[in-house]
Point group: C2
Chain length 212, copies 2
DNA sequence: CCCGAGATTATACGAGTGGACAACCGGATT
DNA sequence: AATCCGGTTGTCCACTCGTATAATCTCGGG
């Protein structure tokens, strides 16, 4: 029988996950201390073992949160019926760029954990990256066969070029600000980047001719 | 007056820098302990404050080493006289991809430090990234005006798309192995990636017609 | 009104961390 | 042979880390 405390059930837990996502993305797994995460969430650091069992499990919860948001964003845009294959791929690309501009934590997490072997990387890949990879690859293959960009590039290169070309600009946003003075998160800069990636990867938009 | 010890002068110091480059790229600045670096180099950890003063200075030395290698690789290929603008840009791209395939530590360092504000990022940008950015941008602008890829994408997007499209594949190489089973460092895979990036960013090679 | 259980806090522990420092070593100088 | 000094080692310190644990708090149900 659930209690009716001042806080709704699980509120503290959720705050910790949100704080953890921010902290892990900024400082990495080792760099983000459980005390810093707890402080960010405004709770006692003893609550982390209490709710999650370990720092590792907390990290998994944060990653799950990030991927849930990603999938919601992508599916909302590519799920529609009656889209051309190129248009579907283009929407996916633009949705992805906009998503990581709003949640750069996602790219930070991926770049942090994808680079080294280890239990966290294995968990991340098996749980999240493999399905994502195959979904994206299927979509891109469709666009390729459908006429758009015509480039005969294998899916594996396409995938990492897409992810890299989209993500680095926002992953290194602080660096970019200092190098160029431009803030990647500025709205029109985000749109310009999305357009650039789409154009490069899918080729120029076919205006009315949708044939091969 | 220099001594003639069993080891040539500075050998120990150099070994520490090499070990540090490897350790920092694998574990990040916080994750790589001075003791681990010393152990990797086979020396006592007290030598790090002795030679470098601090962990931070050691990190700078490691970054300097990485950039020296990069610049040597790029200049060896783009420095030639009598190259067309597109050809010069194409060589730069291929040389860069091959370089990071051989020294993924470079990408790891850049991705690690470019993502957060802080003294290391400021030092890295002012000392290394700004000159690199302007050199690359000048080269790409030349190729653009010279007819090649014709894409009207601003330099800032071009730069980060190039860096991201080239780098992520090798930065996430361990992840890629687990997702796809393909080893990005395999020689022909490296070449395929270089070709893919070049083709996407500069457009298909003009065979004999170099006009607009 | 008090009890009990989940939620929260405070404290403690052992393992690491970066850095400081004195002792030590061995070949070069005198 | 005695001295010197850069290179090297071991030890120590204050601090932070993740986590375990016991005490405390805050409620709703008896």
């Amino acid at each position: 029988m659930p209690r009716a405390r001042s806080q709704p059930a699980g509120a503290t837990r959720d705050e910790i996950v949100v704080a953890a996502l921010g902290a892990f993305s900024e400082k990495g797994f080792e760099g983000a201390s459980t005390r810093a995460i707890a402080g960010r969430a405004g709770v006692n650091h003893g609550l982390i073992p209490y709710y999650f069992g370990s720092k590792e499990k907390l990290w998994q919860a944060a990653v799950n949160l990030a991927f849930e948001e990603l999938e919601a964003n992508i599916e909302a845009v590519t799920g529609e019926e009656g889209l051309g294959k190129r248009e579907r791929a283009a929407r996916m690309i633009r949705a992805y760029v906009r998503f990581i501009a709003r949640r750069p934590e996602f790219v930070h997490l991926m770049n942090e954990e994808g680079k080294r072997r280890g239990p966290r990387m294995r968990w991340l890949v098996d749980r999240h990256v493999k399905p994502l990879y195959h979904a994206v690859t299927r979509l891109l293959e469709g666009a390729r066969a459908g006429g758009g960009g015509v480039l005969d590039i294998e899916p594996i290169h396409f995938f990492y070029i897409l992810a890299g070309a989209s993500g680095l600009f926002f992953h290194q946003a602080e660096e970019c600000k200092r190098v160029t003075g431009v803030d990647p998160f500025s709205e029109d800069v985000v749109e310009a980047h999305a357009a650039a990636v789409e154009q490069l990867l899918l080729g120029p938009k076919p205006h009315e001719d949708g044939s091969t």
